[in-house]
C-alpha cells in the first residue's frame, strides 16, 4: 500500500467520520437521556477501540489485556466518586468490611478525595502500567503471540487481585452508588446530557490525535514495524521505543475510556474488565476494521449496541453467536468491514481499469490477429512453395 492510496482512502473515511460526529453532537436532540447514557458508554469504549487500532492495526501488536488499563482509569475516577458520596464517613463497603476490617481510609485511597488528583490518575496509572509492561517485554523482543498471551495472563491476575481485595475494592461487586463530580450531579437528565457531550468532545479529540499521529513520521514507522519489524531495524530504527510509546498511548486511551464508561454506567466492576471483555473489545475493533481508526470506533460502538440488545433478548444463545462472530472475523474478515468495503472498492476500480485495458487489448488483439493471420498465410504459402520445390 503506497502513501498516496492511504491518503485517498482516509479522505473518504474522514468525511464519513465528520458526518458521524455531527450526528453524535446532535444526539441529545433526538435520544432519551437513558439511550444517551448507553450511547455514551459505547462512545467511551470507542476511545479504547482507537487505542487497539493504533497498536494492533497500525503496529501489529495484539493486546488481550486492554481491560487492565481500562480498569485503572475506571477505578481511579470511581474511587473519587465513591469518596464524594460517602462524605466524611468511610465508604459503605469499607465500613462493612471484614478480613481485614478497615477502620480508617487506607492511605492510597485518601488522595482520591481531590477530583484533580483522580483525573490525573486516570491518565498516570495506565501510563505507568502500560509503559512498564511494554518496556519489559518489548525490550527483550518478545512479540506476537507471546505478547498477546502475556497480556491475557496479566488481565486474569489483575481481576483476580481486585476480586480478592474485597475490603479495599469491594471485590466482585465493584464500585458503584455515586453521582457527583465537581459538585455536579451526573445522574440527572441534564447531567447525563452534559456528560454525554463531554464524552463526544473527548472522543473527537482522541480521534483527531490518532488521525494526526498516524500521518506523522512516527506513524509511518509504526506501520513499517507491523509489516516487517526486522526490516525496520535494518533501516536503522530502534523499534522498541516506538512500540513502547504507542502501547503507552493506547493504554492512556483505555484509561480515559474506563473513566468515562464508569461515569456513564454508574459502576465499574471486575466483570467489565476481565479476560472475556478484554478480548471482546478486540473483536469489535476487528469487525469494524482494525487498520482504520474510524472503523475501529464504528465497530466498537455499533457492535456493542447490537450486543447489548441481542444479548439481553437471547442470553442463552448469545455466546454461541459471539463465538461464531470470532471465528468468522478471524478466518475471513481480518480487516473487518472497512477492509471488506475497501477491497470491494478496489476490485471495482480494478475492473474499471481492466475494462479500459480490455478494450485497448481487444483493439490491439484485433490488429495483431490480422497481422498474425497474414504471416501465417505467408508462411503457409512459403511452406507449400518449399514443398513444391521438393
Amino acid at each position: 500500500m503506497t502513501f498516496k492510496s492511504l491518503l485517498n482512502k482516509n479522505t473518504l473515511s474522514i468525511v464519513l467520520a465528520l458526518i458521524c460526529f455531527v450526528l453524535l453532537f446532535l444526539a441529545p436532540l433526538y435520544l432519551s437521556a437513558f439511550k444517551l447514557s448507553l450511547l455514551g458508554r459505547f462512545l467511551a469504549l470507542g476511545m479504547l477501540g482507537i487505542g487497539i487500532s493504533l497498536i494492533w492495526g497500525f503496529t501489529g501488536i495484539l493486546s488481550l489485556g486492554q481491560g487492565v488499563f481500562y480498569a485503572l482509569g475506571g477505578y481511579a475516577i470511581a474511587m473519587h466518586l465513591v469518596l464524594v458520596q460517602s462524605g466524611d464517613k468511610l465508604p459503605g463497603f469499607m465500613a462493612r468490611s471484614f478480613k481485614p476490617r478497615i477502620l480508617e481510609l487506607p492511605w492510597w485511597w485518601a488522595p482520591f478525595e481531590s477530583p484533580w488528583f483522580a483525573i490525573a490518575m486516570v491518565i498516570v496509572l495506565p501510563m505507568i502500567a502500560a509503559s512498564l509492561l511494554a518496556t519489559l517485554v518489548f525490550w527483550r523482543r518478545i512479540s506476537g503471540v507471546y505478547f498477546a498471551l502475556i497480556t491475557q495472563a496479566l488481565v486474569l491476575a489483575f481481576t483476580t487481585l481486585i476480586v480478592s481485595q474485597q475490603s479495599y475494592t469491594n471485590g466482585f461487586n465493584g464500585l458503584t452508588n455515586f453521582s457527583t463530580i465537581f459538585s455536579f450531579d451526573i445522574t440527572t437528565e441534564n447531567g447525563r446530557r452534559v456528560l454525554y457531550l463531554i464524552t463526544v468532545v473527548v472522543l473527537l479529540l482522541v480521534w483527531l490525535f490518532a488521525q494526526w499521529i498516524t500521518r506523522t513520521h512516527f506513524g509511518k514507522v509504526l506501520v513499517s514495524i507491523r509489516d516487517g519489524e526486522n526490516r525496520t531495524r535494518f533501516l536503522g530504527y530502534n523499534t522498541t521505543p516506538y512500540k513502547v510509546v504507542i502501547f503507552t498511548i493506547a493504554g492512556i486511551m483505555s484509561g480515559i475510556a474506563g473513566a468515562f464508561f464508569t461515569m456513564h454506567a454508574g459502576i465499574i466492576s471486575p466483570r467489565d474488565v476481565g479476560v472475556a471483555p478484554s478480548i471482546e473489545m478486540v473483536v469489535w475493533v476487528a469487525i469494524g476494521g482494525r487498520e482504520s481508526i474510524t472503523g475501529a470506533v464504528l465497530g466498537m460502538v455499533l457492535g456493542n449496541l447490537v450486543a447489548d440488545s441481542v444479548s439481553s433478548r437471547f442470553p442463552e444463545s448469545w455466546p454461541l453467536m459471539l463465538g461464531a462472530l470470532f471465528i468468522v472475523v478471524g478466518m475471513v474478515l481480518p480487516k473487518g468491514l472497512v477492509g471488506l468495503v475497501e477491497s470491494m472498492r478496489k476490485s471495482f476500480e480494478n475492473h474499471r481499469i481492466l475494462d479500459k485495458q480490455g478494450k485497448a487489448i481487444a483493439e490491439l488483439d484485433a490488429g495483431e490477429a490480422y497481422r498474425m493471420r497474414q504471416n501465417e498465410l505467408q508462411s503457409v504459402k512459403g511452406l507449400s512453395g518449399v514443398n513444391k520445390g521438393v
Partner: protein, 303 residues
Amino acid sequence: MDSVFIINQMFNGLSLASILLLAALGLALSFGLMRVINMAHGEMLMLGGVVAYLVQSSGVSEGLSLWLALPLAFLATALLGALLEVTIIRWLYGRPLDTLLATWGVSLVLQQLVVMWQPYGVSFVAPQWLKGAVSISSGALAGVTLPYVRIFVIVLSILVILALLVLLRYTNIGLYVRAVNQDREMASALGVNTRFVDITVFALGTGIAGLAGAALATISPITGVIGSSYIVNAFLVVILGGVGSIGGALLAALALGFFTSFFESFYSVSYAKVIILLLVVAFLQWRPKGFIVTQSRALEDTA
C-alpha cells in the same frame, strides 16, 4: 516450616504440574510446528472430562469406567482436534493473531454448548481403588497425605511423556514431525507429507488434553468453563518452555506447578497469580525465548 508441610506442598505442586504439562504439551507441540496457538485447547480438557462422564453414565461398571474413559477421551478429543484443524486452523497458518481470535470463538461455542447442556457441570466417580491416600501417621513425617488420585495423575503424565518421547524419537512419524519442526520446506521437498504431520500433531495434542481432562474428572467436577482455569497457565508453560520443546514444557510445568503450590499456601490464590506472572516476565528478561531454545538461523523465528 516443617518437612511435612514441604512434602505436602511439593506433592501438590507435582500433581498440578502434571495436569499443566498434559494441558500444555499439545499447545507446545502444535506451536512449535505451525506457530499457532489454539485458544480452544482448554475446552479439549473439558470435553475429555465430559467423555469420561458419558462413559460412566452409560452404565459401565465402576472399576472398568476409568480404563474405558481414558482411551475414549483421547480418541474423541483427538478426532475433534483433527476436525478443528481441517476446518479452521489450516486456513489460518501464517496469521497467528487471527488464529487466537478464531479459536477463542471456538472455545466460546464449546463452553456455552456444555453449559447449556449441564449448567452445573458433571462429575465422575473415581473407582474404589483410587479413593484414599498414602498417609503417614507416625514418625517424623506424620501428617504427610498423598491422595491416590493425585498419584494417578502424576503417573499418567509420566507415561504420556515417555510415550511421546518414544513416538518422536523411534518412529517414522516422529522423524517426520522432527523434520517439519526443524525445516518445513526442506522436509516437504524431501517428500514428507507436511499436511498429514500437521493434522496428526494437532490431533495428538488435543487428544492428550482430552486424556488430561478425563484424569482431571477424577479429582474435580467438570464444568463448562473448567478449561479457562487451566489454560492461561498452560499458555505460560508454552512461553516459559520455549517454542515447541517438550523438555522445556516439562521444566516449565514443574516450575509453575511448584511455585503456584507454594505461593498459594504462603499467600493467597490471587497474590500467587500476580507473583507468578511477575516471575514469568522477570524470567523472560533473562531468557526471552524460554528454557530451551532451538538453534536456528532463521531471521523471523518467533511468531
